[in-house]
């Protein structure tokens, strides 16, 4: 049986391929000159250059944090290419003009573009190595006043919005990697949902890392005005190669009165081989600000890739009656490391938060949940419930839970629960009795274990996630 498991766990990476496209890249390393070059290349206004330089100067004074439960060789920040863009050809009027190589890549990944995009009802803003190449459904969204474009376009077309909100949730000096991102971010997505508008479709961006050694520093900003709502999907795959890649994205969400933002992620980047060689370092700062009364931000994530996943999608619950949710499945296998969780900062009265985290570790991996629930002195009537479950597959992996509960208000209630379990021989035997083989049984057990999270994923993602976990664990139980 363990042989089956072994085989299941050691499935090769299915999205491993490098697309050969010419890139216009910056020299290795980071300096004010590089930042000025990035800014100039992108034709940015002065204030944005200043924003970058402030972040860079702040970054220089900071040291990389060491408290996380992951280990990796020190990162040489002067050995990273901070800018790489596909050669700017002429402006693209339609999908036909997009580089066929690129389209082929998307096809391999199953990105629903063109007609497929229409059928899937998904507007895809594709980020390919830092510059937006094609955007669909823009017109349809524009009809209702929704802005969905790359950050570079937004800087050009809606500077007042960017200036107002960029860095408002994650300040330039927030943490080491956020400062780095603020200095060198190359592109990303911008979503603006005007007052009272319910976004008619799920917005989706596929990020894709290409060009060996180019660190990716995306910046995502979503603003939902009063009474609006939006569901945003982020999915990732990456080509397979040997050098570690640093990925330090920043995602900022702002929800005004009665607004509702749902942010879903499926992450399946290259995790390195079974000995831990290669793979992406995914160090991301994600934070949402529930600024308005009764606003809501919900994070759902399925983390299955990356050599190291290190992120804490957070909610700052400022508005009275606002609520934050975090639903997470993190799966690690082989030598993968994950230190992920959330922060729920309750500032306003009657704020609510809910955390459901499911960690699955297999192989020799290490999977940690780290979370903070903070109830401020003014957050009367605040309520939090957290549940963190871990599942271990095999006896060489580890699962840890580090929940920080800080309560400064007596009129509030915080509850935290955690359990650890395993897939036992007995469970598998039970399935076998009923004619269900180990592989299927594992898939069913895992899906049952993760059900509380999967039900919060949008339909397409839920299907994909279920398959993904099955795929990732194939051969790992016994």
């Amino acid at each position: 049986m363990s042989a089956v498991l072994q085989q299941l766990v050691s499935q090769p990476y299915k999205h491993g391929f490098v697309t050969d496209i010419e890139s216009d890249t910056a020299p290795r390393g980071l300096s004010e000159d590089v930042i000025r070059m990035i800014s100039a290349r992108k034709g940015e206004p002065d204030w944005l250059l200043q924003f970058r330089l402030d972040a860079y100067r702040h970054w220089l004074t900071m040291t990389a944090p060491t408290w996380q439960n992951v280990s990796h060789p020190p990162i040489d920040y002067q050995d990273i290419i901070y800018y790489s863009a596909p050669k700017p050809k002429k402006k693209l009027a339609s999908m036909d003009e997009v580089d066929p190589e690129l389209l082929k890549t998307f096809e391999k990944l199953g990105v629903p573009m063109n007609e497929r995009a229409a059928l899937a009802g998904v507007a895809v803003d594709v980020i390919f190595d830092s510059v937006s190449v094609a955007t669909t459904y823009k017109a349809k969204l524009a009809e209702v006043g929704i802005i969905f474009c790359s950050i570079s376009e937004a800087v050009r077309d809606h500077p007042e919005l960017i200036r107002k909100y960029l860095g408002s949730v994650v300040p330039t000096g927030d943490n080491f990697y956020a400062a780095l991102n603020s200095a060198v971010f190359t592109d990303g997505s911008f979503v603006f949902i005007p007052k009272g508008v319910k976004c008619p479709m799920d917005l989706s961006t596929y990020f894709r890392i290409n060009t060996q050694d180019s660190g990716q520093f995306e910046r995502t900003l979503i603003v939902a005005e009063e009474g609006s709502s939006v569901s945003y999907l982020e999915g990732c795959t990456a080509p397979k190669f040997d050098t570690n890649q640093l990925h330090a994205a920043v995602v900022e969400l702002v929800a005004l009165d009665d607004a509702d933002i749902k942010y879903s992620t499926v992450q399946n980047w290259y995790a390195g081989d079974e000995n831990g060689v290669g793979g992406i370092y995914n160090f991301v700062t994600k934070r949402g600000l529930c600024q308005g009364r009764h606003s809501k931000i919900s994070w759902t994530q399925v983390e299955t890739g990356s050599a190291i996943t290190w992120k804490y999608p957070s909610c700052v619950l400022l508005g009275e009656g606002s609520s934050g949710e975090f639903y997470s499945v993190a799966l690690t296998n082989h030598m993968q490391q994950a230190d992920t969780g959330t922060k729920m900062i309750h500032v306003g009265r009657n704020t609510r938060s809910r955390i459901v985290s499911k960690g699955i570790s297999a192989g020799r991996s290490s999977n940690s949940y780290r979370g903070l629930v903070k109830i401020g002195a003014a957050a009367d009537g605040a309520r939090n419930y957290s549940q963190c479950d871990s599942m271990l597959i095999g006896d060489r992996c580890s699962a840890s839970t580090f929940p920080y509960l800080t309560v400064q208000n007596r009129a509030s209630v915080v509850e935290h629960e955690a359990t650890t379990s395993k897939i036992g021989e007995e469970q598998l035997f039970y399935f076998a009795q009923r004619g269900i083989d180990a592989e299927q049984a594992i898939s069913m057990i895992i899906n049952g274990f993760c059900r509380d999270v999967f039900i919060h994923l949008p339909m397409e993602f839920a299907v994909e996630a279920t398959k993904l976990l099955g795929l990732k664990l194939e051969g790992s139980v016994g």
Partner: protein
């Protein structure tokens, strides 16, 4: 008498420690601890383990290291502290020094040796020398290093193989504050021999209002098949500082049942580390912090499952009134070999005042797969249903609140295996709740 700043408390240039001569046989350990105490900085909130506990008021204060007075006391002041279960099974320390006239071990059966560290090192058998200073790691911990560097005064309890000790052994560390501010370094070693059964009450209390810094280190060794019941009670006055380290090693099929109660001190910190070092070890570790006014209590527990088939149960409760601050960090570690571990931890905190605050961190680190581990933590107020129930029986809201607060704390107090202590603490909590 000279006052010494905290960082220098463990260094060599101090007046000789009372009873230090007896520690001569442990010269190597003391020497290493001295070196560590000189090398290690006083922890600050920048250290993860001290994140919520700021020691600067302690670090600012220079300390006397010896009261200079004879360790004695009016017997009438001692009477209210005596335990029925431990009559003539008691060691009393006054201002850090052993008080033979107040102590008596006449009631103890043969086979159990209880005495001041100095005497026990001289003729308490090999167990004392074998275990003293071997369990509480001082190479990474400033406070353990200081205590070990000043090794001298303290108590040792050694229970021989198969001996069952009725009642309890009471180790009472009192401070009178005759020479304040005074820093004392109590040391306790308990060895429960194979198959023996023993109850030890370790108590720290103040008999005055002056400031004392107690830096206590306790080491417990529970040998195969033995049962050790350990009560640790800290009720020093509200201007004092208390730092405690308690390192416990539990061998194969042995049981360790402990209750730690913190109701005193301005700032207290207890690091209780229990290693389940043998297969089938069983541990319960319960804790209560009952705080008011400006009190700060920080409790760090570690249940280290190093071997298979271990069981641990933990209940920790905090009651915070006034502007008090409770910290609980409960770490459960299951090492790669410790298959079939069954571990559970509950942490409950009750906030009674708008200015009180709690930091709780129940922490699980699991490195084995065939394990049952669970923890739960809640922070909140009294349950609305319970209040309603009492209201429906005609109890005024205020009285209902007091009763429920008492009941909340009583759950831990009642787990203390010494009846007279349960009664005394319960009365104290009732008085505090205004019942």
């Amino acid at each position: 008498m000279v006052a010494i700043p905290l960082p220098a408390l463990g260094s060599q240039a101090l007046p000789p420690v009372p009873g230090a001569a007896a520690a001569a046989g442990l010269a190597e350990v003391v020497e290493a601890a001295r070196a560590a105490a000189g090398r290690l900085p006083v922890p600050t909130p920048h250290d993860e383990a001290w994140r919520f506990t700021d020691l600067s008021p302690l670090a600012r204060q220079p300390w006397q290291v010896d009261s200079g007075a004879a360790p004695t006391l009016d017997a009438a002041r001692l009477a209210p502290l005596e335990l029925d279960e431990a009559a003539d099974a008691r060691l009393v320390f006054v201002d850090g020094r052993f008080a033979p006239v107040l102590s008596s071990t006449a009631a103890l059966p043969s086979g159990v040796r209880v005495g001041a560290l100095a005497a026990m090192l001289a003729d308490g058998g090999p167990a004392v020398r074998e275990h003293l200073g071997r369990h509480a790691a001082f190479d990474v911990d400033f406070f353990s290093a200081v205590n070990t560097a000043r090794l001298g005064e303290g108590a040792a309890v050694v229970c021989a193989r198969g001996v069952q000790v009725p009642g309890a052994v009471h180790l009472l560390f009192l401070s009178t504050g005759r020479s304040a501010p005074l820093a004392i370094q109590p040391r306790v070693l308990v060895v429960a021999g194979e198959g023996s059964e023993l109850t030890v009450v370790e108590e720290y209390a103040s008999l005055g209002d002056s400031m004392v810094f107690t830096n206590a280190v306790t080491e417990c060794v529970v040998e195969p098949g033995a049962t050790l019941r350990h009560v640790r009670l800290q009720r020093e006055n509200a201007v004092s500082f208390h730092v405690g380290r308690c390192a416990v090693s539990v061998a194969r099929d042995a049981r360790y049942r402990s209750v730690a109660v913190d109701i005193g001190a301005r700032l207290s910190r207890l690091d209780h580390a229990v290693t389940l070092a043998g297969e089938g070890a069983e541990v319960t570790r319960d804790g209560l912090a009952l705080l008011d006014a400006r009190q700060h209590a920080d409790s760090h527990t570690l249940l280290d499952h190093a071997k298979p088939h271990g069981t641990s149960r933990q209940l920790h409760k905090c009651v915070c009134d006034g502007g008090s601050h409770a910290v609980f960090n409960g770490r459960i570690l299951v090492r790669p070999d410790a298959q079939r571990t069954d571990s559970s931890q509950q942490s409950r905190a009750l906030l009674l005042s708008a200015r009180a605050q709690v930091n709780a961190k129940p922490q699980l680190e699991i490195h084995a797969d065939d394990v049952k581990a669970a923890h739960g933590a809640t922070v909140g107020q009294l349950d609305a249903d319970e209040r309603f129930y009492l209201a429906s029986r005609g109890l005024p809201a205020d009285q209902a609140r007091r009763l429920l607060t008492y009941a909340f704390a009583a759950e831990v107090i009642e787990r203390i295996p010494v009846r007279s202590l349960v009664g005394r603490l319960a009365a104290q909590v009732m008085a505090r709740s205004g019942l």
